[in-house]
Symmetry: C2
Subunit: 300 residues, 2 copies
């Protein structure tokens, strides 16, 4: 038996502090708060140079990704962006960062509301973004509402970011756009929110995130790997199912209802069994090796 990772222990400690129902036990993508007569949706994601982006990567792309990943969390709640707060440590090319940041805010119709800028010491650049959204449908979708009998859907292919990452890392002629400038499925999230029983964005790998949603719902997800759309050669299907950064929406709906947006049925929800995840009927009992767990451990 191995000792828990520092992330694991710290996040367990945070959970003990997050007693307000709005925090959703830190197991959801966002906090959801009743405020005034409406529902506020809040998320904060960080990006660290060398962990979430490559040293030397174009700061405009880094800025885009910082915005897109946070907007993606709002998308999973069916929330429309209200604005963002930026936590910025000065880097190699702040003007380029601003360019990409402005492009992403314009694209998602989010406005910059405030934040903080600091001169960091030499070393890895650390960035944070808080996104504030307004729920368009209540109850706000969570990860915990999947029910046996529901179908499991994915809005589009996984693996494109993996291919893009490799092209960028290796300096090949391959298309790296999917890694550099991911798309938050905001329109899809807004359209889906009234219909789904559970929803999340796939940031850390399809299998890992599916297992999290199955566990949050107290069910088991049975995934048919061949039904999962991939953006990679077939030989790399297993990797595509484990790589993150594509930000597709993963959601469940009763079988009788057709999704209101284009989506691929990739499996079904069944009663909880020993494992939260079955892949082609095979039990996956351990969360390790399913995704991004060790290089990125978000509080959620």
């Amino acid at each position: 038996m191995t000792a828990p990772s520092p992330e694991f222990a710290f996040i367990a400690g945070l959970r003990a502090l997050a007693t307000d129902p709005a925090a959703r036990g830190l197991v959801d993508d966002c906090a959801v708060i009743e405020f005034g007569g409406e529902t506020l949706v809040l998320t904060h994601d960080m990006m660290v140079e060398g962990v979430h982006f490559l040293p030397g990567q174009d700061p405009a792309d880094v800025a885009w990704k910082l915005v897109a990943t946070n907007i993606s969390d709002l998308a999973a709640k069916g929330a429309e962006p209200v604005g963002v707060l930026l936590g910025y440590t000065l880097g190699a090319d702040d003007a380029r960062f601003l360019e990409g940041f402005g492009e992403a805010l314009a694209y998602y119709r989010a406005t910059l509301l405030g934040g903080d800028t600091v001169s960091g010491p030499p070393g890895a650049q650390t960035l944070g973004l808080t996104a504030i959204g307004r729920a368009t449908h209540r109850p706000v979708p969570s990860r915990s509402g999947a029910r046996p009998g529901d179908m499991l859907y994915l809005t589009g292919p996984v693996g494109a970011a993996m291919i893009g990452f490799e092209a960028l890392r290796d300096g090949t002629a391959g298309d790296s756009l999917a890694y550099r400038r991911p798309t938050a499925r905001l329109a899809q999230g807004l359209a889906l929110a009234p219909h789904v029983t559970a929803m999340m964005d796939v940031s850390d790998g399809l299998l890992l995130d599916a297992m999290r949603m199955a566990r949050a719902s107290g069910t088991t997800f049975a995934i048919d790997s061949a039904a999962v759309p991939i953006a990679t050669p077939e030989a790399r299907r297993a990797e595509a199912l484990r790589w993150g950064d594509d930000y597709q929406l993963l959601f469940t709906m009763p079988k009788a209802i057709a999704p209101p947006v284009a989506a691929h049925a990739i499996g079904k929800v069944v009663a909880a069994s020993d494992s939260a995840l079955l892949l082609d009927g095979t039990v996956l009992t351990d969360a390790s090796g399913l995704g991004y767990q060790h290089t990125r451990a978000p509080v959620r």
Copy 2:
């Protein structure tokens, strides 16, 4: 003529993006947004090891300060805390951080709503906190409402954090509490909000912050240095007026009204002149040397 600092250029670029009135042009302590039937107050402040806290400082104190500085921004708006989102890079003693974090949240009755935890690369620890508040009085106090004829007030002494910082840095027996565990003047801010014409918290030095408020209001502040309460020996008065981190509230009110909380009259608001700041009748024409401008350049 010197080139503008990287911070200055970056913040100017951010201002061009922050066109929503809720952002208050990034010159205020917080964003102020109408949401539902209420008013949401949002702030995000960062702390970097070696910049905002000493390497090796007790993580429990660092956590406390991270919470207190953000709650202080809410205090300046007369906003009661709703909750916080934490952006955390793992550090030397995460368990100690949690202790101080929990103590500060309990003290200010704020709840943890979410956030993100990342394993940073070796190097300086970078922390961010987003605080969400609910305005208790509308219009929400700004920095820009001071009018000629108003009196200028400060809720308590400055310089205590400077003395505390020196004690901590030098390892003397002196009391370092004011630097390690600053107090956000939340109760005072709530009581003052309905009465002030302008208000802010003094984080970067009294003179620098007073100049910012005078400029935001399009007025000049005339400060009587002898009237400023200080927590230092008299010989260090000039330094105490320039050191930050005490988080007293600085506010203006019409002369005819008595402040509803204990406060020191330290000067008055006069019609705009060449300088936004007069100290004992002497014009201060340059923002340099008035405070923390170069080591901490917040977006606000």
